[in-house]
């Protein structure tokens, strides 16, 4: 991504966006609060200029969020301690804390007959075990590795859902976080299969047994690349889904800034999209877990 100054931004320079925000070195600098951007966009005369300002703002918001000062906070007031939740690292630890609290809460109610929260957690755990882990890994391995997939599911779902709360950052909308999660899957796909079958057995398991002899050397690099691309696809799928939701919501709200109060009904659409995002959050956690289980199952039990 190039700085907008070299792009020849439409009338952003002339119409009141702070110079520091548009200079090439602004990534390291302090960015203006959102209302400054909105004021600047509102003061601009052309629709193209307003769009330019908003587009810059959205890209900053979803990609360089930790450099922002004074914008993700409660309205009309700045509580400094809320700023830490802009960091994805803090959000990951928050998710860990939430999950630990949930686990303790569920554990307390887990008697012979589970009650309250324990019911919900138990049904989710049973769902992950019986519908994700066991079908793709077989009964023995599936039951043993259910804890891994439960961790994936609960962690990703919690991080995604926490990211929907306005003050919090969406940690899974950061490609580094999803790459880390996919690397865990990659480790199980490669190292786990090597531990089970040995390095030679792992390589042999990659190549279909009934392939013609001449094709087999060709298949090996293809299958190795396929291992990497599966991991890469896991990374991008989660990251892009989470980021795209934020971009869409922000773009629709940006219509109000660009067009004015005629566009106010779009807020209803945004509310509807927000509920759709709740579904997407849970669904992406499910898909990530399911695909991890399928991929790990493919290298654990080749030829079936």
């Amino acid at each position: 991504m190039r700085p907008s100054a070299s792009r020849g931004a439409v009338d952003a320079h002339s119409a009141g966006l702070p110079e520091a925000w548009l200079s090439p070195g602004r990534r390291s600098g302090i960015l203006p609060p959102f209302r400054t951007v909105v004021n600047a966009a509102t003061n601009m005369t052309s629709v193209a200029g307003k769009g330019e300002a908003l587009r810059e703002y959205i890209i900053e918001h979803v990609m360089y969020r930790t450099t922002h000062i004074d914008q993700w906070n409660i309205p009309f007031r700045h509580l400094a301690f809320l700023d830490v939740f802009r960091s994805d690292t803090v959000m990951l630890w928050t998710a860990v804390a939430v999950l630990l609290g949930l686990a303790l809460l569920a554990r307390r109610r887990m008697g012979d007959v589970p009650a309250g929260m324990a019911n919900l957690v138990e049904s989710l755990v049973a769902f992950v075990r019986d519908h994700i882990a066991v079908p793709s890994l077989g009964p023995a391995d599936g039951r043993r590795m259910a804890s891994l997939f439960c961790s994936f599911f609960f962690f990703i779902a919690t991080v995604n859902l926490l990211g929907l709360i306005p003050i919090f950052s969406t940690a899974t909308g950061n490609v580094n976080v999803t790459a880390g999660l996919a690397t865990i899957t990659f480790g199980f796909m490669v190292v786990g299969a090597m531990v089970r079958h040995g390095p030679i057995g792992f390589i042999r398991g990659l190549i279909p047994r009934d392939a013609p002899l001449l094709v087999k050397p060709l298949l090996l690099p293809i299958e190795l690349i396929s291992l990497l691309s599966k991991t890469f696809a896991l990374t991008i799928r989660l990251f892009a889904n989470m980021m795209a939701g934020h971009i869409v919501i922000f773009s629709l709200l940006g219509l109000v800034v660009i067009v004015g109060w005629y566009a106010l009904p779009v807020v209803a659409l945004v509310v509807a999209l927000f509920f759709f995002e709740i579904f997407v959050c849970l669904f992406q956690a499910y898909i990530f877990t399911l695909l991890s289980a399928v991929f790990i199952g493919q290298t654990y039990h080749p030829q079936h």
Partner: protein
């Protein structure tokens, strides 16, 4: 430049078009399969979700590439 942004937007639209066709075919086949054999619904649904996730992943690759241009 504005033309690059316009081209990226057109690319995002094309990506969505392709993914929509693919997802439509997956969904149509799954609906047809479930209608013919309702008892196979759980298996069909899981397979459909996996296929849909792959198609969606391709669409998101395209979206990320278009987004890098913007």
């Amino acid at each position: 430049m504005a033309s690059e942004i316009a081209l990226a937007s057109i690319g995002a639209g094309l990506v969505t078009l392709g993914a929509a066709v693919g997802l439509g075919m997956v969904a149509a086949a799954a609906v047809g399969g479930i209608a013919r054999q309702p008892e196979s619904a759980p298996k069909v649904q899981v397979t459909m979700l996996i296929a849909a996730a792959f198609i969606e992943g391709l669409a998101l690759f395209g979206m990320v590439i278009c987004f890098l241009q913007v």
